[in-house]
């Protein structure tokens, strides 16, 4: 049994200017102890997918129009609100990108950590506070006992993100969704925070969904990758195989645009053009206007997710050519 299985998820946003198809038939799966990286540009639907799984989508303007999210054998989309709430925080938790704005500025970090135990476990004030200190120690915050009464703005960016992680880990959930957990941090701190997250994941055997646009982060920690473009998954693969041989031109474009230290002076390859407008995705393959391999069929027929191997899939009509070209 899978820990989490998302099937054919559709999410729309209703705005003044029309309806945007933010997520358009996404399938995902995560096992316990496994790390899935969801990769994509902003606007590709990766964060919306995460929010839909977590049940924190702003509705309205967002609306889930189809699909199912099966978590531990229960479809979350059909659960009563109360049961859904009890899963949030306890069974699945989320780490946000910018801890400074994601933590409440007027409450102490101790209070915000303790709140988890008080609400979900009915712990007493004292008990909860002791557990909050324990948590802070676990994410390696120095002088946790003295700092438990401090406010978020009194911590450095890295320490704040650790608190964010501590909060997500508080009730030892089975699934963690981390939405760009290191983007807001200094490069030197990024690695520390990522290591910490990976260590804790192993320790508790949690499933981890890592939402990111950072290929560097992915290579180190992920087991498998799902690449998203315009609200769809365009390629899924185990991480090593994907790096070795991408089966979709978009993935290839991403990999080529990584600047490499061993190729000095060369021109940086970038993907031309802009991500599509989600209110008006082009007919056929959404990537066709930017794709160097695009042909007539790409402008007409939307490619299904072709099975490349037992563990791989690609939504490109010409995935086989991608392999042949190498």
């Amino acid at each position: 049994m899978s820990l989490l299985q998302v099937r054919d998820l559709h999410v729309e946003f209703h705005t003044r200017d029309g309806v945007a198809q933010a997520v358009n038939g996404v399938d995902l799966g995560v096992e316990a102890g496994e790390t899935l990286a969801v990769l994509g540009e902003s606007g590709s639907g990766k964060s919306v997918t995460a929010q839909a799984i977590m049940g924190i989508l702003d509705m309205p303007p967002g609306r889930i129009t189809g699909g199912e999210i099966v978590f531990q054998d229960r479809d979350l989309l059909t659960l009563p609100r109360q049961e859904r709430r009890q899963i949030r925080g306890a069974k699945m938790a989320m780490i946000f990108q910018d801890a400074l704005s994601a933590l409440n500025p007027v409450l102490t970090v101790g209070y915000q950590l303790a709140e988890m135990f008080r609400v979900h476990q009915g712990a007493s004030r004292k008990e909860a506070r002791a557990k909050a200190v324990e948590l802070m120690e676990r994410v390696r915050i120095p002088a946790a006992r003295q700092r438990v009464g401090d406010y978020p703005h009194q911590f450095s960016g890295g320490m704040r993100q650790r608190i964010m992680i501590a909060m997500a880990l508080a009730l030892e959930p089975d699934l963690i969704i981390a939405d760009e957990p290191t983007t807001a941090l200094d490069v030197t701190v990024q690695a520390q925070v990522m290591d910490l997250l990976a260590d804790l994941q192993r320790e508790f055997n949690m499933g981890l969904i890592l939402i990111t646009h950072d290929l560097g982060v992915v290579a180190d920690v992920a087991d498998k990758i799902a690449v998203m473009y315009a609200g769809r998954i365009v390629e899924t693969a185990p991480v090593k195989e994907l790096y070795k041989a991408p089966a979709h031109p978009y993935t290839k474009g991403l990999l080529d645009s990584i600047p490499r230290l061993d190729q000095k002076g060369g021109q940086l390859n970038v993907i031309r053009g802009m991500p599509p407008n989600l209110q008006q995705t082009p007919p056929g393959c959404a990537y066709n206007p930017r794709c160097p391999m695009a042909r007539a069929v790409c402008r007409k027929d939307e490619p299904p997710l072709y099975e490349v191997s037992a563990l791989r899939a690609s939504a490109c009509h010409f995935w086989e050519e991608m392999f042949d070209a190498r």
């Binding site: 990769l39 994509g40 490069v187 560097g216 645009s257 600047p259 802009m274």
Partner: protein, 323 residues
Amino acid sequence: MTGPPAIEGPDETETLAGVESQAERAGGKGPSSPGREPRERARSLWSDAWHDLRRNPVFLIAGLLIAFLVLISVWPGLIASRDPLSCRLGRSLDASSAGHWFGFDTQGCDVYTRVVYGARTSVTVGVCATLGVAVLGSVLGGLAGFFGGVWDAVLSRLTDIFFGIPMILGGLVFLSMTGSRSVWTVVAFIVLLGWPQVARIARGSVITAKQNDYVLAARALGAGNARMMTRHILPNAVAPVIVTATIALGTYISLEATLSFLGVGLQPPTVSWGADISAASQGMQFRNAPHILLYPAAALSLTVLAFIMLGDAVRDALDPKLR
């Protein structure tokens, strides 16, 4: 790039768009410079605001009401053929009858006629006081904000002092000391105590405008003080002043009525809704003749409401942050 590899797509285009629009602004033609798309061409704060206002029912209702009020203030004879001051004690407190829809007050005056003529007083006080406050406040506040230094310090302290005295309290003390009071006495008092409110706003927006990049650029290019003021700073400071003044207009009408109610506002023969309500509540005369209270009260409330609604709509339209 020394950071970890990252997808650059969207960021790049965003930056590009940013650069483009900056280049546009640097063109110096201000907000009405031609944009990339025809739809964006005429988009300035004012045309945007007007676009919003025309579709706002609150604005339309308020506008119609105010147009009507102004009309009967100028020509009350249009809808009232009698004299508001011709009163006969013999019909004191009589109920409504044909030709006298609102009945008679204690003095035996026709309540309908007095309600109509009261509009002139209220509108005159409101409009004149607002104009005075807006002009005096924006000149003093603007100068303080523009020149800073001693001017600014003095003005700020003055504003603090005036803020400590509520207008009704100041009005009671000040107006009770003056012997005979006309509409102009009340207007003068409101201007005297009201200007710091606008001055504070004008000062703030001038200081903000002064720090804008394009103003600094104009200064670096050698624009003189007068030119800076008229071309660059005033257009930016005007919107907040207009918003404050429009909302204040309604409160000034309410203030005049309140002062008249407290017996320190307008005196006969000037017709004032506030004074009429005061007369009606004297010894609870409205007990048996509620019409002498309710009609002027409704007229006053509706008038203030019209102006406050107008101010609210204008503020919503001119403040892009609220969208």
